[in-house]
Each structure stands twice: as C-alpha cells, then as structure tokens.
C-alpha cells in the first residue's frame, strides 16, 4: 500500500512540472497581458506602458520569466498579484473558505440526491422514466442560465431568497449565510447530481443483473436488502471513482457559478484574474488546481484499492 502510494506520488512530480510549463506558455500566449487594460485609457501614454512593463518584469524573455517564477514558486514564494500588488498566497487563501463552503455543501447535496435517485431509478421502472427525463434536463442546463433563472424566480419574483453574494451587509448570521448559499449550491448540486445519478443507475442495473442477486433472491433475501446491501455495494466502486474525479474539478472552485452569484471564492478570483491577465494569480490558481486533481485521482485509486479486494490481488 505504501509502495503503491509513494510510486504514484513520485509520478506526479514530473507531471506537475510539465503542466506548469504548458500552463505558463499557454497563458502567456493568449493575447493581452497585465497591461492590456491600461491601453484603453487615453491618458496612459506609451512611455507609461513601457515604464510599467519594465517595472513588472514583463520585458524579460519568456524563458527567463518561467525560470524565475518556477524557482520562486517551489521555494514557496508565489509572488505578487500584477493587479493589486498584494501577495498571491493571501489573495488565494482569503477566497478558500467561501469556495469550500459552496463546493462542500453542493457536493454533499449532490451525493444525497444522486444516491437516492440512482438507487430508486435502478429498482423502480416507473420512477426511472421520470428520473431519466429530469436527469437529462439537469445535465443539459447551462449553469449560468439555470443560475439566472433561479435568481429571477426565487429572488425577484417570489422574494424568498437573496439573489447573490455570500451574506447580507450587516446581517452575517447563520440564517443569512444559509439563505445566500441555497441558490448557488442548488445550481451546482443539480448539475452534478444529474450526471452522478445516471452513472449510479447504470452500475446498479449491471449489479442487479449479476448472477449473485438471482442467487440471493432464490435464497429468500428481501428485495430491499438485495438492492441496498448487495447491489449498491458493488455499484459504489465505479461511482466513487467518478465522484472523486469530478470533485477534483470542483475543488478548483465553481468558476461559472461563483461569478453568476457574485460568490467570493477562488473561482471568481480566477475569472477576474483571467480578464486582467494577472499571470501570477493565474499560475498559482492553476497549479493548485492541478495538485488537487493529482491528489484526488490518487485518493480515487486508493479508495478503489481499499474497497475492492480484486484490485489488491491484481496489484
């Protein structure tokens, strides 16, 4: 187990290096830069642009910039934001709690919905028809559109919930925070639950068709017990893998949802940094996201390894 773990971790290091190089080249290849927005102001003259370019170190060669960035990054110096001059690490860390709150809540909600719907859909044909329709709709809804529709319905028309933000000004108690959380979390939860429930339904169906369930039925085991104890445990393995892989993407913040709901998490920081070509913030964000993907992939492997005795024998 430990050898398996260290081997995978060692593989991740060169992978992350390659990722960092690719990401660095790609974001610098995109047209515009941290100074692009200054060009729109007629009072900012070419001399000013040149002066700022030198001051920001953007006049060096791309290779030199990459080496300088990488050297500092591995030593824990993530540099300063080009946009507001504050340390990148501070800017990221102050956004993490909001993202954890949103992503955590929506993941738990999505898991609950997916488990209930997936199991029922596999077991009850009538329910399956309804669930399929709803799930397809859930998968197809563009997140930004669905988010705006929920705002119109629950904030504007009904007036039940605040349309966006993380808290009301001066009203940051638990109830207020929860009220703000409902809509963005619902959007994310629905999007993920729709996909996950379809996945679980599929693997439940497969498990229910396996010979052991027939044997169990013949042995007089109740249908409820067959579904929940026997089929579900088998079906959970692939499900866990999918959920963890998806979670690795969610860990980097829900970029679209956060900006639609003005949610102050890392996702909206990313959107903002992208528009401003804030290279240092973008690099730190993308590297953190890459590390999260690598780690959660590793967790997924370990989870399957731990849950399924067959993979242990194969290894």
């Amino acid at each position: 187990m430990l050898r398996f773990f260290t081997r995978r971790a060692a593989q991740a290091v060169p992978l992350l290096l390659v990722v960092s190089l690719l990401v660095f080249v790609l974001i610098h290849a995109a047209p515009g830069g941290p100074l692009a927005l200054y060009l729109d102001n007629p009072n900012v003259r070419p001399q000013d642009i040149e002066r700022l370019r030198r001051a920001m170190g953007l006049d060096r060669s791309l290779a030199a910039q990459y080496v300088a960035w990488l050297g500092a990054f591995v030593r824990g110096d993530w540099g300063y934001s080009y946009a507001d001059g504050r340390p990148v690490l501070d800017r990221l860390l102050e956004r993490v709690p909001a993202t954890l709150e949103l992503v955590g809540t929506s993941t738990v909600a999505a898991l609950i919905i997916a488990l209930v719907v997936g199991v029922l859909a596999a077991a009850r044909r009538g329910f399956d028809r309804v669930a399929t329709g709803v799930a397809i709709a859930g998968i197809s809804l563009p997140v930004f559109w669905f988010g705006l529709v929920l705002q119109l319905a629950f904030a504007n028309a009904l007036g039940w919930l605040p349309s966006s933000g993380r808290s009301s000004f001066g009203g940051g108690d638990v109830g207020d925070m929860l009220a703000h959380l409902v809509l963005p979390a619902a959007v994310l939860a629905v999007a993920h639950a729709a996909g996950w429930s379809r996945y679980l339904r599929g693997s439940m169906r497969e498990a229910l068709a396996l010979p052991f369930t027939r044997t169990a039925r013949a042995g007089g085991v109740s249908e409820r017990r067959i579904v929940l104890r026997h089929a579900l445990r088998n079906a959970l393995l692939p499900f866990v893998t999918v959920v963890l892989l998806d979670a690795s993407i969610m860990a980097s913040g829900a970029v679209v949802t956060e900006s639609v709901f003005a949610w102050p998490g890392v996702g909206s920081l990313f959107t903002e940094a992208l528009a401003k070509r804030d290279y240092t913030v973008l690099m730190a964000f993308l590297m953190c996201a890459s590390v999260a993907v690598v780690i959660l992939n590793l967790v997924a492997d370990v989870a399957v390894y731990a849950l399924d005795p067959r993979t242990r024998e194969a290894a």
């Binding site: 729109d40 102050e94 609950i112 904030a155 207020d176 009220a179 003005a262 528009a275």
Partner: protein, 536 residues
C-alpha cells in the same frame, strides 16, 4: 438511516434560510446606500488605478473636479487658475507657471493639514518613477514645484501645457504618510487611503464589498455628507447586478448598459438618470492595414452607407444621439457646424464607382481584381456592439462592400488595436474633460506613440492640433480646435456613430444626483446626495 438524518438536516437548513431571507431587503436611507458595482478596484490609490474611480472619489478629492456639464470646478483648490485671474503666467523662456491656491482649513482624515507641500510631494513622487503610477501625463512636463506658503503651490512647466487645469484631478498624496516609502508596497495607504473627502474606507471585504463611512470633521461642515454609509458590492455579472437592483438588494447601479434600460423602466423604486457622455462610438478605419481606406472617397462612401438613425432608433432604443465629431457637445470646444454624412446609399455607390470600385457579379465591389472586403473587429460579449456591427455589415453589403465581423474578448482587443493588427474596429474612446484630441489624430501619434489607429497622416490637421495643445487662452484654443474638428469631418478618418450617453439607475427618492459625462464619474458630488427624511 444516515441519508434520512442528512436529509432532515438539509431540509431544516433550507427552512431556516427561507425564514431569514425576507430580512435582507432594506430600502435606501440617509443611513445606508448600497451600490451594485461591476468590479472590485485593484487599489484605492487614485494615481495607481486604471479603472473608473467611483469608490476612490468619496475618499480622495482632487484640487478640481468636473461637474455634470463638464465645467471644471474647484474642490481642494480655492479657485481654478486661469490667465484672467492671474493663476497662469507665460514665461519668456517658453514655459509656463500655474499658481494653485489651496482651500484653507482642509485637513487629512488624521488631522494633519492639507498643504502645498502635499502638492509638491505628489509631483516629485510621480516624477521620481520608483513606483507604478498609472499615468505620468503632464507631470513629466513639470520642471519643479515651489511652495512660497502652505496654501500656494507654483507649478513650473517646461512648456505650455493647455490641459493644466486637470493636472491634479486625482488629488494629492499625503506627504507626511508616504514620504520615503515604496508607494507600491504601502498596503495601508493603497487599501485604505488617507484622504480629505466626505468618506473614509471603513471595511474592504475582498471579493464582496467596500464600505465607506462618513468622515469626521469634513471641511465642508458637519452636515456633509448627508448619507452616513455607502456600501459598494462587487457584482461582476451584469444580469445578476440588474437582478439585485430589481430585487432591492442593491439600491443603485452606475452605468447601466443600454440593453438593460428597458427592463428597469418599470421598477418604481428606480429613477434612470441620463446625461450625455464624453465619448463616442465609431468605426476606426485602419489605412495602414487596409490601404483602400486611404482614399477619402471610400471613407466618405462608407459614412454615407450607414443609417445611423436607424441603428440608434432600433438597437439603442433611442437612448443615444448621433454625433459628427470626436469632441462631444458638452465640451466648450464643441463645433456643430462640420461636414455631415447623412444616410445616402446612392451617393455611397456613386463615390465608390468614382473611386474605381466597380460592382462585381458576386455583389462585392472590386478594383484591379481586389475585392472591397475587410474585417470589423469588436468586443465580444458587448451585446449592443455585436448587434451594431451586424447592422453595419448589412448596410455595407447593400452598397457592395463586404465586411466580416470578428468578436474578440475585452482583454485581447486592446493588444490587437495597439499592434495595428486589424482592418476596422467598432469601439469608443472615453475622454477626460479637456478637449485634447491630438493623440487620436496627429500624424506622429500612431502606436506606440499615441492612439491614432486610423493611421491618418494629415499635416494641416497635425499642425492645428499641436498648436491647440500649446494655446492656453480658451477662445484662441477653441478657434484652433474648431478648425481641427472641421478638418476631421472633411477627412472622415473614422466613421463616427453616436455619443455614448451615460445612464445611472438610482433610488427614485435620491436628491442631488446629477450623473457625470466624464471619468470623474457620477459620485463626483456624493457629499450632497440625500434622501428626504420625512414621509418615507
């Protein structure tokens, strides 16, 4: 079993949330005004920011500002220096001196007096260049600043500089706080600047809001500002921002996009305040990249081919007015009597025929085998522009001109035009109150030296423009700029469409809100804003 418990917890949480939700919608009052703002500032330092400075305006005051009619009005200066009041003196060596008299009794929020030493420090700090002010425009023409007394700053310019009035529109830097420091790293100042204005920054919650709170001992008197706190909430998504406004979660949105105005008209709590803007939407024609634009007949033909009134009436809901020149009607230098190009497709066709662009079988004109075909770039995600570009494309097609439309994201497009790598571009310029247009049209001001991205080279115009920059006397300068505007209209270096009017959505009961055509922004007189106290 676990699921059931989790389900109950979630259900209870949602009920709790719903119960609390109603309390969030509070109306605007003299205690609190909530503004839905489209972006978070990078810094509160007015000299370092490159975006509109509405939030900073309440904290840091300029020596002057510009009002809703674009008049320059004194704030921390006791009067605007002019030749007539002896504030501006021409020197025999070709330079000029501007004498700023500061308003007595003005104090920084920490109790220190605001003095001419702060003016001198500001100039020296910017010209020292060891930090990153956004623009050094004008400052680099200053030789030195003298401070004969604590309320007089004499600014010695190396040369005559006509836009001197606006030199300190961004205010001054407090010497006693910033002297000897690296201003880029002075986070205390950049996040919570020491100002003289009606408000100070009470809280900046990153990613969420900035709260301004009434400053103590404001120099205009204890009755100002009338509103105790102003909260700027950052809501970058336009639809979300408008939804929040309609739901009453925010009370005001500055600069409502034109395509959102219609849906706000029926919101009774909201008043839409419209002023002319100091900017104009136009199609830049890049003569260097697409040589057929170098022929003035082609440019005039394209101007005649566009039905501007139709575009304004339909796509823009008549919220803007067509204009014919780069200097806008609110400016003292505006000249209305210039050549105008009315919608006249027959004339457009005749001009193109005359220029040798003959109609081909495909419906596209050509000359010597080259089709009259080019690409108009414009900003993606700006719905109005996307529609206007398509309308122009159709109207060009009617006279045999093939224009393709290419959408480019807002960050990339600045780099594209700066490099001159485009045929034509639909965009606007937003200017400060001074009517200088040299950097847009002088022959030697093509990038990187300026913003003449038409790549127009006209000696007569260039001479007029530089002469106007070196003329301080307003009537003489007006005459030079009048001739420059007529020359621009004759040459049609760009296809000018309409004035970019500015529409702000404010609470219906808010008093003394006027809006502002320039980058001074609608918050320029925020200290006066007030809600009626009785009968609400």
């Amino acid at each position: 079993m676990t699921f059931r418990i989790a389900g109950r917890v979630l259900f209870a949480a949602m009920l709790g949330a719903l119960a609390c939700a109603r309390s969030s919608g509070r109306g605007p009052s003299n205690d609190l005004l909530i503004v839905g703002y489209d972006r978070e500032p990078d810094t509160m330092n007015r000299y370092a920011t490159h975006i509109l400075e509405d939030i900073q305006t309440g904290v840091i005051e300029g020596l002057v500002t510009t009002d809703e009619k674009m008049n320059v009005v004194p704030v921390l200066a006791s009067e605007v220096p002019t030749q007539a009041n002896g504030g501006v003196k021409m020197r025999a060596d070709g330079g000029m001196d501007v004498i700023w008299k500061l308003r007595p009794g003005v104090k920084w929020h920490d109790g220190h007096s605001h003095t001419s030493a702060d003016v001198k420090f500001t100039v020296d700090a910017i010209n020292k260049g060891d930090w990153k002010p956004e623009s050094t425009d004008g400052f680099d023409r200053i030789e030195s600043v003298e401070t004969p007394d604590s309320l007089t700053a004499v600014v010695h310019y190396k040369e005559v500089y006509a836009p001197y009035e606006m030199q300190f529109v961004r205010g001054t830097l407090p010497k006693h706080l910033l002297e000897g420091r690296d201003i880029d790293k002075a986070a205390d100042y950049n996040r919570n600047p020491l100002g003289t204005g009606p408000y100070h920054v009470a809280e900046w919650k990153t990613g969420e809001y900035i709260l301004l709170e009434k400053a103590k001992d404001y120099w205009r008197g204890p009755e100002y500002p009338k509103i105790n706190r102003i909260l700027f909430r950052f809501i970058s998504n336009t639809t979300t921002r408008i939804n929040q406004l309609k739901a009453g979660e925010v009370h005001m949105v500055a600069l409502v996009p034109w395509d959102k105005v219609r849906e706000l008209k029926s919101t009774p709590a909201i008043r839409l305040n419209q002023v002319l803007g100091n900017g104009y939407e136009h199609v830049t024609l890049n003569e260097k990249r697409f040589p057929p634009f170098a022929d003035v007949r082609v440019r005039r033909a394209l101007a005649h081919a566009i039905d501007r009134q139709l575009i304004v009436n339909t796509i823009l809901d008549s919220l803007v007015t067509t204009v014919n020149g780069p200097i806008q009607p609110l400016s003292w230098a505006y000249e209305p009597n210039v050549a105008k190009y009315d919608y006249d497709p027959a004339k457009a066709k005749a001009l193109l025929d005359d220029a040798g662009w003959k109609m081909g079988a495909t419906g596209v004109r050509a000359k010597d085998g080259t089709p009259l075909s080019f690409t108009i770039i414009t900003q993606a995600g700006f719905a109005i522009r996307e529609n206007v570009a398509q309308a122009i494309q159709k109207q060009f097609k009617d006279v045999g001109v093939d224009a393709k439309v290419k959408l480019i994201d807002g960050t990339s497009i600045s780099t594209v035009w700066f490099s001159g790598d485009f045929d034509a571009m639909l965009h606007w310029w937003q200017s400060g109150a001074d009517p200088e247009i040299t950097l847009f049209f002088a022959a030697d001001r093509t990038p990187p030296a300026g913003r003449n991205i038409n790549y127009l080279k006209d000696d007569a115009l260039t001479k007029l423009l530089y002469a106007s920059d070196r003329t301080v006397d307003q009537s003489a300068r007006r005459d030079l700029l009048r001739r420059a505007q007529m020359r621009v209209a004759d040459l049609v270096p760009e296809l000018i469409l309409y004035n970019t009017s500015k529409i702000d959505a404010v609470p219906a009961t808010l008093r003394h809100f006027t809006g502002n055509p320039t980058n001074a922004g609608p918050f320029w007189n925020v200290h006066e804003w007030e809600f009626p106290t009785a009968g609400r």
